[in-house]
């Protein structure tokens, strides 16, 4: 376990701020940046890196979702249905981790993120929104005011089995790798299930608090969480996600999709490199 010093706390606070800022912009927890940084950069054991990252995911999810309440951008009903699947996946993630070799999981993760990035880039010009507000969004669909187009946007949710399966896998990878799982859920909801990127990101950010809690509690119980470093990371992430949220309302959907695809490819390369070592 790493020795806690003021310098290390400051480095982790800074890394948390960067990860939190990008995470808030993309609707992911930021763990996708923090885990490689702590594990590859600072040589923390993967369990310690994952544990710290999961606590920041909870903090990001809670603060981003609290700040967004009242905007109707978070699809609460869809989120709560999908949480049944992510929480089950996160719980089973602990068991799966014992049965699979770490390198197998990393290879799988690298492949999945690469596929999702390609799907994302292929859909840059498409929009999932119906601009006629009189259309019924159905049991799980939603409507919200979109700043970019200046109108009320309506959408329906398609292919629920895919959304549930993606949520389960995302929950599983969340516990295994210490990420929120938004990298899986957001593109899946957007590309296959008809949810606009902004609503998919907000709903995913809302859900990952529950997902990460299921994983974090288990790491904490096994003594793999270093409290002062988790505190430094959480506080850094709070600062970063607060700043990121102020930018996300102004950023265009096309730019967000490109950034997301780029991030996914980077994560994929990192994971493949480590998994094949």
């Amino acid at each position: 376990m790493p020795v806690v010093t003021l310098a290390l706390a400051l480095i982790i606070f800074g890394a948390g701020a960067v990860a939190g800022g990008l995470g808030a912009l993309l609707g992911i927890g930021g763990g996708v940046f923090l885990v490689p940084f702590l594990n590859l950069g600072l040589h923390f054991p993967i369990a310690a890196a994952a544990a710290i990252s999961l606590t920041t995911v909870i903090a990001t999810s809670s603060s981003v979702s609290a700040g967004r309440s009242g905007e109707q951008l978070i699809n609460l009903r869809l989120g709560m249905v999908l949480e049944v699947a992510t929480a089950a996946g996160a719980l089973l993630g602990g068991v799966t981790a014992q049965m699979l070799a770490q390198s197998t999981v990393q290879l799988l993760f690298g492949i999945v993120t690469a596929v999702v990035a390609v799907v994302m880039m292929g859909r840059l010009g498409r929009r999932n929104v119906i601009l006629d507000p009189s259309i019924d969004p159905g049991l799980l669909g939603g409507r919200y005011y979109e700043e970019e187009s200046g109108g009320v946007v309506t959408y329906r949710v398609k292919r629920m089995p895919i959304a549930l399966a993606a949520s389960f896998i995302a929950g599983n990878l969340s516990s295994l790798l210490g990420i929120g799982g938004g990298v899986i859920k957001v593109p899946a909801l957007n590309a296959w299930c008809g949810v606009p990127l902004r609503a998919a990101a907000a709903t995913s950010a809302f859900m990952i608090g529950v997902t990460a809690t299921a994983g974090a509690v288990i790491y904490y119980g096994h003594g793999q969480l270093v409290p002062p470093l988790a505190a430094a990371a959480v506080l850094g992430v709070q600062l970063g996600s607060w700043s990121g949220m102020r930018l996300s309302a102004r950023a265009s959907a096309r730019w967000l999709k490109l950034l997301m695809a780029f991030v996914l490819l980077m994560v994929s390369l990192l994971m493949l490199a480590r998994g094949t070592r």
């Binding site: 706390a9 809670s62 609290a66 709560m80 996160a90 608090g209 509690v217 288990i218 904490y220 002062p228």
Partner: protein
Amino acid sequence: MTARLEHAVGRVLRVGVITSSVFLALGLGLSLFVPAAAAGPVLLRAGLMILMATPVGRVAVSVGEYARQRDWLFVVLTSIVLIELLASVVAAMR
């Protein structure tokens, strides 16, 4: 109805995040600058506990809100999520 739930959930998240951040900041400051103080680790632990309890709390509040609205399908769904979270606590203590 949805707006009411959104505000209830938002309030739980806001209170949880602010409280845990204050505990974590005080605990981190004490641990780094006054290592002899016993309060540092206690505050850090309390902060982490509150942080992890926040999503559990907002699921519990959702169960209550859906019950008040007599939306039984969502009472069942959110209750399952609550049970899954409690199961992770059981898994952590083994």
